[in-house]
Amino acid sequence: MGYKMKKLFCEIIFPILASLAFFNIASADETKLTLTGSSTVAPLVLEIAKAFEKKNPGTKIDVQSGGSSRGISDARSGLAHIGMASRDLKPEESDLKNHVIAKDGVCLILNKKNKIEKLTDEQVVKIYTGEIKNWKDVGGADAPITVVNKAEGRSTLELFENYFKIKNSQIKASVVIGDNEQGIKTVAGNPNSIGYVSIGTAEFDARQGSQIKLLAMGGVPASIDNVKNGKFPLSRPLNLIVKGELKGLAKKFIEFAQSPEVFNIVRQQYFEPASK
């Protein structure tokens, strides 16, 4: 009996487990699309996908978030038909092609109770690198600054690092957060904190009564309008990423996501549609 059991495992169960492990989710099926990637792009694409499914009955669009890096690596490996990324492609990613569907900005946020109305770029760098530790040094109340930073790998952090020309290891954070909502909740709950999140999400939450305020940058107020007209310095494209030639359902979906039909959906999510 023992021998038979062993045989059963070697010949049947183990191969099944092994094949499950290597099962490819993006199998060639012309009615189903899988998109993975940026947690900033995912909610928008989810709404666009709903509209697309309504317009094309029988299609099924599967949207999973997990960060721009995942979107890019999934698009490259074929694990997803389309990747989502909230940043430009890097030079070493030239094997892929990006399609901009919307624009978003990243802005600094403070608690509403904080009296500070603006910070210079230099002050922001000093606060994030730990040179300035108290709000009184930038004209605020005498209270220690709680620096909220993003976790390594997030595109918001990369955009922030590139703009202020600092490395993550130079940042002296008091709290490290994952997604935008967690950042807003953290800043809203701490009067002496400073953080940075997507303008779209921040504007939406501030309008919903969250205890945060958006800081102007380089004299330009943080708003979706200033992202739209290109004035706001810290902005980024929301991309759909594909590998190889665009065809079939993926092509149809990307064309739909860039068409004026979805502009309302994009604006509802507090992003700015990408006009071609």
């Binding site: 495992f9 183990f14 890096s69 390594e152 290891s169 008091s174 709290v175 490290v176 953290t186 709950g189």
Partner: protein, 290 residues
């Protein structure tokens, strides 16, 4: 102990034997496969940088090729141990209360209440911690998100399951012995302290080691309240990052060596838990021999 050959070779028994063997083999194989998978995924970074980098690098900045995991191991162990130290006495005494002090009706209501708390998903505790507990701690000392917040939330999560486990342990204590104790004129407290607690010590220890494992593995709640800064905490008010939070925060965003290094955090977590289970086993044997 029974050997499978000494069992009655009835046909129905044979069927049962095969099914049971099959299920236990499946469970065993899954565990081994997970371990092998973790080792295989961690291997590239071991090959490139060696084993030592995880202990001697200056910090954790995987994109700048710095991979020190010691602060996170410390944070995980500290948070889990302190939480269990806080929750275990509460849970055990809640079991004592339920079985030996509370009037039956009150005990019934109390049990349902504890069961309800035990069923609350961890992300709810995390959210509560983020919007209530963290601002409270902030009033004492900024930034609020801290090791202390993590310990409190974990203790709150562990307490109900520990209470339920000890409740059922006390419940199964033989009634004859209780009657014997009362015939000898033992007071209630004397009976509990000198008779019941020493004889269920082993079972309580087993329940405890399960809870430590759970505390070590908890992710969402801890991620939301601990602050996630990679550092060795100097006080309970310092923010820390646990091994689980490290994986959850960065896994979906990581590629290459960074990703591989995150699997190392997973591997270390599993090794920590294996070590805990083995030492609990060792302790139990020693108690038995006494």
């Amino acid at each position: 102990m029974f050997d499978s050959n000494t069992l009655n070779p009835h046909r129905s028994d044979k069927f049962l034997l095969i099914t049971l063997r099959g299920f236990s083999a499946l469970a065993g194989i899954t565990t081994v496969l997970i371990l092998l998978f973790l080792i295989a995924e961690s291997f590239p970074v071991f090959q490139k940088f060696g084993l030592l980098v995880f202990f001697i690098d200056s910090s954790w900045y995987p994109r700048e090729q710095l991979f020190n995991l010691v602060p996170m191991m410390t944070a995980s162990l500290l948070a889990a141990t302190c939480a269990v130290l806080l929750a275990a006495p509460l849970g055990i005494f809640s079991g004592v209360f339920c079985n030996y002090y509370a009037p039956p009706k009150l005990a019934w209501i109390y049990r349902r209440l504890i069961e309800l708390i035990a069923g609350v998903p961890s992300v709810v505790y995390g959210f509560w911690g983020l919007v209530v507990l963290v601002p409270l701690i902030l009033n004492i000392r900024p930034p609020g998100a801290s090791l202390l917040a993590g310990i409190l939330v974990l203790a709150l999560m562990i307490f109900p399951t520990m209470a339920l486990a000890s409740d059922s342990i006390f419940h199964s204590f033989p009634k004859e012995q209780l009657n014997g104790a009362s015939a000898l004129g033992f007071s209630r407290w004397r009976t509990i302290f000198s008779l019941i607690l020493p004889s269920v010590k082993r079972n309580l220890l087993a329940a405890l080691s399960l809870q430590i494992g759970r505390a070590l593995g908890e992710t969402m709640a801890v991620l939301m309240v601990c602050g996630n800064v990679v550092q060795l905490p100097k006080s309970f008010f310092d923010p820390v990052r646990t091994l689980t939070a490290n994986m959850a925060l960065e896994m979906s965003y990581a590629t290459g060596s960074h990703r591989s290094a995150l699997f190392v955090s997973g591997l270390i977590l599993v090794l920590l838990i294996i070590f805990l289970v083995l030492s609990a086993e060792f302790l139990q044997r020693r108690i038995q021999n006494d």
